[in-house]
């Protein structure tokens, strides 16, 4: 069947071997100008993504978490080249993207696809489900008949019977069904990396579980790599192998999911974890871990960006921005007092009482 075919296609494309990261990102930066400088006016810029480095390994799921405005969605759009980065280098399986001697943006998009949060807005309302899925392959040179066959096969695979659904239009589907169509469309080009930007966030809980199961199945079947962006820490813990925590355009902490959830090294990660509503009626949250809203990424404080909200801030934190440094095996953090946080200094009342460990 098609599966073995697509796996062999992957093998043919997998040039660097297992050890080479599928995606390597260095110094990624994007600032949006909202007020130009000059004439005595200070320029105002949103520091959406402000120097981010990370690798995505083959076959893993990397989760990205953070509050609104932390730059997680901008990062995804920069990776897809839906936005042009100010600076930064992106290397896809050894090939620099969009550079001489590397891989073209178009070539990269064949191998990297994206699923968005708004399942309705991301489908063309005038195209049937089948046409939407077959459109991508046709653009990339697959003939009409074959691309339609592929669309129908994918529909069946994401749990929508092609006999019933192929000719329906987006408005005739529920949110969960539309998101399945979006996943099928993303898979139509047989990508190697799938970027899921809050892909299950708008779904009802009972449907969310179905879609998560589907994502796990597809990952195994096609040997996919996921970049999973979400604000839901429970879902990220469930689906990810590694997690990257972002704060105001920077990576605050990155590490293996269980290690990071069990012993967060950044005060921000710890606060995020303890802000999750409790599921135990006898242990309700007594105190909010952070005060106030996430600050806007326009006027950044000097030094560490988390200073104004940090319960452990000291003078030195305001002097220099901490670099991302190793604090354990495959665990990195950007905090001067990470050792104390990991040791449990300044205890937070409840981190997460329902850890499945």
């Amino acid at each position: 069947m098609n599966n073995s075919l697509s796996l062999s296609r992957h093998d043919a494309l997998d040039r660097g071997g297992k050890a080479q990261p599928l995606l390597r990102v260095r110094g990624l930066q994007k600032h949006f100008t909202i007020t130009r400088g000059g004439m005595g006016r200070q320029a105002k810029r949103v520091h959406a993504v402000d120097g981010v480095d990370f690798d995505v390994y083959k076959g893993e799921t990397l989760g990205i978490v953070g509050e609104s405005g932390c730059g997680k969605s901008t990062t995804a759009r920069l990776l897809m080249h839906l936005l042009a980065a100010d600076h930064g280098e992106m290397v896809f399986d050894g090939d620099p993207i969009g550079q001489r001697g590397g891989i073209s943006v178009r070539g990269m998009r064949r191998q990297v696809q994206m699923v968005f949060q708004n399942s309705y807005a991301s489908l063309n309302p005038r195209m049937s489900v089948e046409d939407s899925i077959a459109f991508g392959p046709q653009v990339h040179g697959v003939n009409r008949r074959e691309s339609r066959q592929r669309a129908r096969r994918l529909l069946d695979q994401v749990g929508l019977s092609s006999r019933l659904f192929a000719h329906r239009y987006p408005h005739e589907l529920s949110g969960g069904q539309r998101q399945r169509v979006n996943i099928a469309r993303a898979l139509a080009l047989e990508p190697r990396l799938l970027i899921l930007d809050e892909a299950v966030s708008a779904l009802d809980k009972s449907v969310e579980a179905q879609v998560l199961n589907l994502l796990m199945d597809l990952k195994q079947e096609y040997g996919l790599t996921y970049l999973f962006i979400s604000h839901d820490l429970n879902v990220v813990r469930y689906i990810s192998d590694r997690v990257m925590v972002m704060y105001l355009g920077k990576v605050a902490e990155m590490g293996e999911v269980e290690a990071l959830y069990r012993a967060p090294a950044h005060p921000y990660t710890r606060a995020l974890l303890s802000a999750m509503p409790s599921m135990n009626p006898d242990q309700r949250t007594q105190q909010a871990p952070l005060v106030g809203d996430p600050p806007n990424p326009i006027d950044l404080p000097p030094g560490c960006r988390f200073c104004p909200r940090c319960p452990m801030v000291e003078d030195a934190c305001r002097d220099a921005e901490p670099a991302l440094e190793a604090c354990g095996t495959a665990h990195q953090v950007a905090c001067r007092r990470a050792d104390e946080v990991m040791a449990g200094a300044v205890p937070v009342k409840r981190i997460s009482e329902e850890s499945p460990t």
């Binding site: 809980k205 969310e208 999750m276 005060v291």
Partner: protein, 335 residues
């Protein structure tokens, strides 16, 4: 003028329930079909109690809430049943009575605070206007009251914030301002329609804790609508689970979260990603909620239920009591 005037007194327990809904049905007509949004809901709320209505989209939770304030479009909705709040029959009220009722007896907060405010007036003016209209006080007194309210909802530098326009406030701040607006006439009943869903988790928990404190300080009753079990656990005394326009299970938080009895509630608990081991499949509820224009016969959950039998399809199951407060509507439970 003390805002804590309405604090619950010991006599409250012996008073009749603040809210009593019996056999409420709400249908919406469209040119081509009729949507059965609420299909026979019975509900009561004690004074000083916090009840959460938990349900997915299309379960009828928001429609039930809106009926309590008569906010549904009059011409397109057919409402039957009885709805009484603080001894007043809500469905029989005239427009004039409704205007007095809204804000004073019951008031509501929404998911999108930005849409609740007029963008061209300052927040302070809008709260003062509400107070003036309802209580006939001067503008100055209204503004003084607005300041008092801003301090009550713990908005830092309250005086300065009153002069802000809605767009100048962050998400969490405008949610606080909306709570202040809703509390401006000391309502006995606060209706909250997913007020924390659009917020970041770190802000959500602050708003939940604020609502919990305010409820205790002011002794009001609250009906909170959400789809999030964790949020329901943090805020409520009692939870009612809705599915396809009916309440399928209701009980104290400890009973409902500790030992859910209806297969739908059990399914919701089992499908949560938080309890699952990584790499293991989630126990998802199969299928999707029914089309409200074509409800199945009998128990609406039967088509998705792992334990369904012929009995379930025959008639809508009656409530089976499990404790003095806890009940579930499922044939499988002993009558």
């Amino acid at each position: 003028m003390s805002l804590a005037a309405a604090t619950s007194d010991p006599a409250a327990a012996s008073q009749p329930p603040l809210v009593e809904i019996s056999d409420l049905t709400v249908h919406f007509r469209t040119p081509t079909r009729q949507v059965h949004a609420v299909n026979g809901v019975d509900l009561s709320l004690e004074r000083g109690e916090v009840l959460t209505i938990l349900g997915e989209s299309g379960s009828g939770k928001s429609v039930t809430l809106r009926t309590l304030m008569r906010l549904l479009p009059e011409r397109r909705s057919q409402i039957s049943g009885r709805v009484s709040v603080d001894g007043q029959d809500v469905l029989a009220m005239s427009q004039r009575q409704l205007t007095r009722f809204r804000g004073r007896t019951a008031s509501m907060i929404f998911q999108e605070p930005m849409l609740a405010f007029d963008p061209v007036y300052t927040i302070g003016e809008q709260i003062a206007e509400t107070v003036c209209r309802h209580e006939g006080v001067s503008r100055r007194e209204g503004l003084a009251r607005a300041l008092e309210l801003f301090e009550l909802v713990r908005i830092p530098s309250a005086q300065r914030r009153l002069a802000n326009y809605p767009h100048e406030l962050s998400g969490g701040m405008s949610q606080r301002a909306m709570i202040a607006l809703a509390l401006s006439c000391r309502p006995k009943l606060l209706l909250a329609d997913e007020p924390t869903t659009a917020l970041d988790a770190t802000v959500q928990i602050q708003i939940l804790l604020l609502l919990r404190d305010l409820q205790r300080e002011l002794g009001m009753s609250v009906i909170f609508v959400t789809h999030d079990m964790g949020v329901a656990n943090e805020i409520s005394d009692r939870i009612a689970v809705m599915y396809a326009g009916r309440i399928v299970e209701s009980g104290r938080v400890e009973e409902l979260i500790g030992a859910p009895q209806h297969p739908y509630t059990q399914g919701l608990m089992a499908s949560r990603a938080s309890g699952a081991q990584r790499g293991q499949r989630l126990e998802a509820i199969p299928g999707a909620p029914p089309d409200l224009a074509e409800l199945p016969q009998g128990c609406a959950f039967a088509p998705r239920c792992p334990q369904a039998s012929d009995e379930c399809l025959a008639a809508v199951p009656a409530a089976r009591g499990l404790s003095d407060i806890h009940w579930a509507a499922c044939c499988r439970l002993p009558a």
